[in-house]
C-alpha cells in the first residue's frame, strides 16, 4: 500500500533538520549580535559560537582552536586543495605543489584539482578496485617519486558508501613528508571519526548531511599546519575564514553534532540490518541485480545497486511516482552525458552505471519503509525492462 507520505531514501544528498536542531535554531532566531562586537549583544553571540566550537571539536577528538567554521563541505575541500597552488609564493616557500587524490572524490575536489593543474600544481589520481578501495601500493609509489605536498582521500564515498583506511593512508603520507586531508562529509556522523586516530592534518565536515542546517560546515586544521584563508578580509575564525560568523548555522551544527553523539551508534546498528535486508531482498526478488561498493567496509546507511537493462532516471522517477525518493548514477539525471565517475572508476561498464540507484537511509527510516521499497522495486524494474531494448 502506498504510504501517506513520501519515503526518503536519499540521506546522502541531504537530511531533514533534527527536531532538537530546529528547536535550538528557533530559540536562537532573534539573537542577532555580531560575535566580534564587544557589547552585550556581541558577547552573547560569541559565547554561543565558542560553545559550539568546543562541542564540534570534542566529537572528533580535536582541540577547539583547530576548528574553522565555514559555509559548506565544498568550501572546506576547496580551501585545503587551494593551499597547494601557493607553493611558489612568498607565503609557503617550502610547500611542495604536488597533490595525490583519488578518482572517486566529490566533484568539489576533482574540479578544484583540475583548476590547480592550470595553476602549476601536479595532481595524480589514485585508482580504486572493484569495491572502490584505493590502491595503497600505487599511493606509495607516487609518494616515493617525491615532492608530494598533500594526499587527499575521502573517508567514505557518497555514491557507493565505501570507507577507506584513512589511518593507514595518513601514516604513509606522513612517512613521505606529505600532509593528509580527508573529506569526511559523508562519514562524519555515520561512523566514528577521530582526527587523532585517523592521523589527518585536515578534515572536512558539513552540517546538512547530519540533520543540521544547510550553508554551514567546518574544517579541522591540525595545529601548526600551514594554512591560508580561502576567503580573506576579516579576523573571524582567527583570521582563517573571513566573514561574519553564521551564528545560527554554527549553533545548529553543534546541536546536530550532539545528537549524532547520542544517536549514531544505535542507529548504525539498525541501518546495517536494513541495508542487509535490502541487499538480500533485492537479490532474491530481482534478476541480475548487481551491488556496487564494498560489502562490509561501507557506510551503514548506503546501498548502491545496478539493474542492467533499466536506466536509472526512469527507476528514480517511477519510484518517485510510488512515493519513494532515491538517487541515481545515471547520466540522464545529472544533466551531463556521462554516468557516475565513481562507478566507472570501479571498473563497471557504462550500462551498469546508467542503471544504478543509490538507496541512502537515515535516522527516520523504518522497517515498514524498507519493506515497502522491497515491495515496489521489483515491479518498477520489471516494467522498465519490459519496455527496454536491452533484452531483445
Amino acid at each position: 500500500m502506498k504510504p501517506s507520505r513520501q519515503i526518503y531514501f536519499d540521506h546522502n544528498a541531504t537530511t531533514p533538520l533534527h527536531p532538537e536542531v530546529k528547536k535550538e535554531m528557533v530559540a536562537a532566531m532573534e539573537m542577532f549580535g555580531n560575535p566580534s562586537s564587544m557589547h552585550a549583544f556581541g558577547r552573547e553571540a560569541r559565547a554561543n559560537v565558542e560553545d559550539a566550537r568546543r562541542r564540534v571539536a570534542a566529537f572528533m577528538g580535536a582541540d577547539e582552536s583547530e576548528i574553522v567554521f565555514n559555509g559548506s563541505g565544498s568550501e572546506g575541500n576547496n580551501t585545503v586543495l587551494s593551499l597547494f597552488a601557493c607553493g611558489t609564493s612568498q607565503c609557503f616557500p617550502g610547500m611542495k605543489p604536488k597533490i595525490v587524490t583519488s578518482r572517486i572524490e566529490h566533484p568539489c575536489v576533482l574540479e578544484t584539482s583540475q583548476c590547480l593543474v592550470h595553476r602549476g600544481v601536479d595532481v595524480s589520481y589514485l585508482d580504486v578496485d572493484a569495491y572502490g578501495k584505493i590502491d595503497i601500493g600505487q599511493l606509495e609509489a607516487l609518494l616515493k617519486s617525491g615532492g608530494v605536498g598533500l594526499v587527499s582521500v575521502m573517508m567514505a564515498n557518497n555514491e557507493i558508501g565505501t570507507i577507506q583506511d584513512i589511518a593507514a593512508i595518513s601514516a604513509m603520507a606522513h612517512q613521505y613528508g606529505a600532509l593528509m586531508h580527508t573529506d569526511a562529509v559523508q562519514a562524519f556522523g555515520k561512523v566514528p571519526v577521530d582526527v587523532n586516530e585517523l592521523g589527518v592534518d585536515f578534515l572536512t565536515i558539513s552540517g546538512h548531511k547530519i540533520y543540521g542546517p544547510k550553508g554551514i560546515g567546518a574544517l579541522y586544521v591540525r595545529k601548526k599546519t600551514p594554512y591560508c584563508p580561502f576567503i580573506r578580509g576579516g579576523h573571524q575564525e582567527r583570521g582563517r575564514r573571513a566573514g561574519t560568523e553564521n551564528t545560527l548555522g554554527i549553533m545548529g551544527l553543534a546541536m546536530a553534532v550532539d545528537m549524532r553523539k547520542a544517536e549514531m551508534e544505535a542507529e548504525a546498528e539498525r541501518l546495517v540490518g536494513f541495508r542487509e535486508m535490502l541487499r538480500k531482498g533485492i537479490s532474491e526478488r530481482i534478476d541480475d541485480a548487481l551491488f556496487n561498493g564494498h560489502p562490509t567496509d561501507s557506510m551503514p546507511n548506503t546501498l548502491n545497486v545496478s539493474f542492467p537493462g533499466a536506466e536509472g532516471e526512469s527507476i528514480l522517477l517511477y519510484l518517485d511516482l510510488a512515493g519513494i525518493a532515491v538517487s541515481t548514477g545515471s547520466a540522464c539525471a545529472s544533466g551531463s552525458l556521462d554516468p557516475s565517475h565513481v562507478l566507472l572508476a570501479t571498473g563497471v561498464d557504462a550500462e551498469r552505471a546508467h542503471g544504478s540507484i543509490r538507496i541512502s537511509m537515515g535516522r527516520s527510516t523504518t522497517l515498514e519503509e524498507v519493506e515497502y521499497l522491497l515491495d515496489v522495486l521489483p515491479g518498477v524494474i520489471e516494467r522498465i525492462r519490459n519496455m527496454s531494448t536491452a533484452y531483445i
Binding site: G309, S314, C332, G335, P339, A350
Partner: protein, 203 residues
C-alpha cells in the same frame, strides 16, 4: 513558500511516462513490416521502432516500440508512436525531433538529445520496409558530410555537439576538436552549428 516542486517535465510528458502507449510486448517483431533501431546501451539511450504498413495506401497503421532510456526518452518514443499512426511513409519520414518535442509540450534543453533517437529509429524502420519490399531506390540513408577534413568531423558530430550544449565555435571545438589543425573549416562549421541550433532549439 512554494509547496510542491514541479517536475522538470511537462504534464504531457509525465502522462506518457506514467502510461506509455504502444509498447512492443515480448521480442517477436516478425509480424511487422519494418524494424528500426538506433542508439546503444553504453550511451544510455537505445530505441527500437516497429511499423505495420498498409501496402495500398502506404499508411502506417501500427507503430510499436521499445526504449532503453530516461523518462524523456520513454515519453518521446511513446508520443511519436501515437503521432505517426495514420501517416503515410513520406509524412512519417519527415517527422523531426522538434515535432516530437512540440507534441510533448517542450523538453528541458539537456534532454533534447533524448528525443532525437525515436525519429531516427522510425526512419530506419521505414527504410527497412522499403528494402524488404524491393524499393531500394526509395531508401534514404542519412549520409554524413565531412566538415573538418583534418580531424574527420562530420555534420552528424556537429549536430551531436549542439545537442550536448555547444553554442559557440569555441564550445564546438571543445566538444569535437574540429578546426584544431588547419582551421580552414571554421566558416562552414559555424554555419552547420547555427543550422542545428535553429533546427533543435530555434523558436
Amino acid at each position: 513558500m512554494l509547496q510542491s516542486g514541479e517536475w522538470a517535465y511537462t504534464e504531457k510528458l509525465k502522462e506518457h511516462f506514467e502510461s506509455p502507449k504502444n509498447i512492443l510486448q515480448g521480442n517477436d517483431t516478425s509480424g511487422f513490416d519494418g524494424v528500426g533501431m538506433e542508439g546503444n546501451l553504453q550511451c544510455g539511450d537505445q530505441m527500437m521502432v516497429v511499423i505495420k504498413v498498409d501496402k495500398e495506401t502506404e499508411k502506417i497503421n501500427d507503430c510499436q516500440w521499445k526504449t532503453y532510456g530516461c523518462a524523456s526518452a520513454i515519453a518521446s518514443t511513446s508520443v511519436l508512436s501515437e503521432m505517426v499512426k495514420g501517416m503515410t511513409l513520406e509524412e512519417a519520414f519527415a517527422v523531426s525531433p522538434k515535432d516530437v518535442t512540440k507534441e510533448l509540450g517542450g523538453l528541458p534543453e539537456n534532454k533534447i538529445h533524448c528525443s532525437v533517437l525515436g525519429d531516427k529509429a522510425l526512419r530506419a524502420a521505414i527504410n527497412d520496409y522499403y528494402t524488404r519490399n524491393g524499393m531500394q531506390d526509395r531508401v534514404k540513408k542519412e549520409q554524413a558530410k565531412t566538415i573538418c577534413q583534418c580531424m574527420s568531423i562530420t555534420d552528424h558530430d556537429i549536430e551531436e555537439a549542439v545537442l550536448e550544449g555547444a553554442r559557440t565555435y569555441y564550445e564546438l571545438q571543445e566538444h569535437t576538436k574540429l578546426g584544431t589543425v588547419c582551421g580552414q573549416c571554421k566558416d562552414e562549421a559555424e554555419a552547420e552549428m547555427q543550422k542545428f541550433i535553429h533546427l533543435h532549439f530555434g523558436a
